[in-house]
Symmetry: C2
Amino acid sequence: MSWSPAHPETVFTYGAPQLKFGPGAADEIGHDLGALGATRVLVVTDAGVLATGWPDRVAGVIRESGLEAVVHDSAHVEPTDASLTAAIERARADGPFDGFVAVGGGSAIDTAKAVDLLLTNDGDLMDYVNVPVGGGRAPSRPLAPLVAVPTTTGTGAESTTICVLDVLDLKVKTGISHVRLRPTLAVVDPRLTASQPAGVTASAGMDILCHALESWTARPYTSYDRKQPDERVPYCGSNPISDLWAERSMSLLAKAFRRAVRDGADEAARGEMALAATFAGLGFGNAGVHVPHANAYPVAGRVRDFRPDGYPDDHPMVPHGMAVALTAPEAFRWTFAADPERHLAAARLLDPVGSHGGSGRGGEPRDVLPRVLVDLMRDIGMPNGLSAVGYGPGDVADLVEGSLRQQRLLATAPREVDGAALDGIISRSMQLWD
Amino acid sequence: MSWSPAHPETVFTYGAPQLKFGPGAADEIGHDLGALGATRVLVVTDAGVLATGWPDRVAGVIRESGLEAVVHDSAHVEPTDASLTAAIERARADGPFDGFVAVGGGSAIDTAKAVDLLLTNDGDLMDYVNVPVGGGRAPSRPLAPLVAVPTTTGTGAESTTICVLDVLDLKVKTGISHVRLRPTLAVVDPRLTASQPAGVTASAGMDILCHALESWTARPYTSYDRKQPDERVPYCGSNPISDLWAERSMSLLAKAFRRAVRDGADEAARGEMALAATFAGLGFGNAGVHVPHANAYPVAGRVRDFRPDGYPDDHPMVPHGMAVALTAPEAFRWTFAADPERHLAAARLLDPVGSHGGSGRGGEPRDVLPRVLVDLMRDIGMPNGLSAVGYGPGDVADLVEGSLRQQRLLATAPREVDGAALDGIISRSMQLWD
């Protein structure tokens, strides 16, 4: 390890929502909101999830418990300052609310966090957005209870304290980050992910895997300088608790990931993937993620005309999990030197019987984990590198520049990241297998 | 498994306090209480812990953050209705308070839960005590933030939603149990356990071990009938999350327990024991404990003249962890049939290299885990069975009767427990090794 702080950190923090997990859990939300003291509840979702019927079903069980419920399909996929402001204004017009439910993916959950924040605290959205883009203000009052009901296995938004948004005028992705934004209760009901097509399961699964693997390999909390209490951040680096969640998430993925992609009706595999997603979220929600997630911003954001299977084909996109995955093998080949044993342990967790490239036969130790990842990506139908989603050698500098903007994420990497390192990782990620 | 419910449970719940862990964590409590909105804080402790200086030091850091702080040594070891009522009345007289800190073992933390409950909600203590002893009333209002600062590694009270008390007139041990009683934040600072004598480390460590082992072997949540949302209890049986904490706790104990007893100055071992205690608490705080903890009530409660090393010698006592441990080997020999693989896995976690009786050489499979436990207990100076703390064959019926009163705990056992089963376990626990 290359870090040698003068006064090493000795303290780590861990926070998580309360959790209700299992088929049927979503039918108890009315009772849970009542126990949390809510009387009038806003259900936040997006138009796509609304069409599945689940948000109205959740509103129904809330009403059966004697509470009022209003449904807004006000979440925008990849929230922007404009979409969040519109969602907040719509909520204010229909308010007051003393409880919130988010039904959907990360976008719906993050939108609900912003709506809850601005309906319980004064000011405007930009007051709370991270500096330098916004005012970086901390909420002065507790938020109302927020129940997060993820419908895609992967984002981990149900466990985190951040709301990610694009500020359109500035063309920048930033966020609002405060411990009060963490949902009160996460309700993970695998029935809500039952309709995921194989391509979505594959991309979302790679997001889960990278949450686990990036928090597992994140810079250790003890490698930072001792923080003052008011300097503590939600992502404190890898620690004994985030390690535990990451390890178990990887073991579940080893067991269930290929099966869940192969057969969407395999309920056991789907349940294990939902658990893996929850565990990975509980881990990275405290440790942080790094290089693959930083790279995913420009890889997704600068898409030209790639249209993946299983997603709406009305616009080009690189799904988030796929964007994360495409540079992961090379990112972990580069981070290997920071802690070889940890990378080899991850390979063993992901490939316990050594049948997927992890047996260590032949090659350098630093190639073992990348080989396990590439073998998996090929099996589940990921594109063969950045070139397969439309990027070429001429795009490397642009992608590096976009990744370098994600300093908040790169700060969690186990080695100091500079442009040259990213250039190498991204260049070598153009094609992942022959 | 002998359970075959008509409609098996599909849902489990998981709750935990936020956590701050590590040397130095206790010095940040003022900041943390401020962030939680507190302005005037009551620090609850007992006379023994007060003498260590830590409660006043904590009150000092609270005042440095600009908050008011008052210290009460109002906790009684093994709280009673009388001691809790006195603590509540003293707090009311010095109130109001909008934040609470407990510095101490389970008794101080449970006392603070009761004080917080009765200062934020109407009524009297007995209104909230579990039926049939009390009124079983649920708190109608949220409690004020409670920061739990354990000074003994073991109790897990910082993670649980219960307050245990003796009702003196009825000579019965009961509790108050509600999710609102769970502390908001647990601050685990291994410096606060640095002065523990070896005998205390040994007994407290056996309590940690039994928390982990009992929640790991507890009746699985899927073996119960499907509950309605308002029937859910804090202890839902073993589940994938409590398993995770229990497993890791056992691995940490395998590494650190003997070292921590042998050398109280071994800081690494002490840190690992504090982490093991925290993890075990997070596990059993959701899954539950069973036979050894049920037996511990009469074993501790009916003591005659045993005086253990490392504890004040002004009165006879069987320390809680020791009382739990003494029937554990025989309890796990009896529960073995419910899930042999799980018992063997526990033996491997506690004795990974097979050097402490867990190698499985010779004997029946059901003897492997008991042999690992007995080997450990001998090494760390536990008494050789119930006879070594003063009980004889003539006491068995009385101990069985006391254990049978703990139906709330016995309900979590992986086999149906009756008097005959307890008679066998207790009789065979009189002497554990030759």
